[in-house]
Symmetry: C2
Subunit: 135 residues, 2 copies
DNA sequence: ATAATTTTTTGTAATCAATACAATTATTTA
DNA sequence: TAAATAATTGTATTGATTACAAAAAATTAT
């Protein structure tokens, strides 16, 4: 993915492709580790020391509203962000703190949702031990 | 459930049945609406104006550690608490903000969890519209 | 092009849930 | 009954996030 690909994706989603938004979105696409706003800020600060923390928050909120990014509420202390927006589950390892994606059939989600309720988003979170940390 | 029932439940779980802890646990059992710490504090303040906010937090943490209460991370802004500890899913209605429980087969959870991962806890969250708010 | 308007960014201040801490009070043990 | 331990309380602090207003950048009108 080239810089101009990101530019056109942002444009197509109705938001102005500013340098800051492109950098945040590019970081999320390149780092599918579900980083926090602060992790993104510290990482981008190296390349773009002028970016402000507030702008990272603003950009993330704008990207979420545009539907390009979604939040992952697996850690109560801080929001995590994810550029993979299609339905999938998340597993957080209590030993290495890694957050792992796993496939989730949309039909399975449908089956889990109780009768009469109309869901817009479904999330499946597991916490436990990942294969590596299980030895 | 009488007062002394709560007392013995707390004792059996290895925590001292203080007036404050009993009141918090009793409130959670009687109000399965997944209240926040602050909601519990404001509600109990009427009957026990001397209880401090810190003690509500302390009691909740103690009850969670004892395995009598679990946290529900469905709202990123604040933790919610639940005295129903067996596996079940949660649906939050974006219109009325109600949080609804629904049954969740433990075997279904097992099937959702990816190969090689060992989960300690599984959570299923939906957000959308509840039957009442769907008209 | 230039001026006026709108949008975005920036830095700082404010918010707010949750925790840390130390003093007080209550309970248990010696 | 005294000493030790545990729990509660009020206040201070933390830390993520938002609010706000000024500055900068980009867009639109003249
Ligand atoms: Mn993900
Ligand atoms: Mn519940
Ligand atoms: Zn791990
Ligand atoms: Zn509703």
């Amino acid at each position: 993915m080239t810089e101009s690909d990101f530019t056109s994706i942002l444009s197509r989603h109705g938001i102005r492709p500013t340098q800051q938004r492109i950098a945040v979105y590019k970081y999320l696409v390149s780092n599918p580790s579900h980083p926090s706003a602060d992790t993104i800020y510290r990482a981008l600060s190296e390349q773009y020391p002028v970016f402000s923390r507030t702008t990272i928050y603003n950009s993330l909120n704008t990207l979420v509203e545009a539907g390009l990014v979604r939040t992952v509420n697996i850690c109560p202390e801080e929001q995590r962000f994810d550029a993979t927006i299609d339905d999938h589950g998340h597993f957080i390892c209590e030993k290495c703190n890694g957050i792992f994606d796993f496939d989730l059939n949309p039909e399975v989600l449908d089956k889990l949702c109780p009768e009469g309720f109309k869901f817009r988003q479904g999330d499946v979170f597991f916490s436990g031990t990942c294969p590596d940390c299980s030895r």
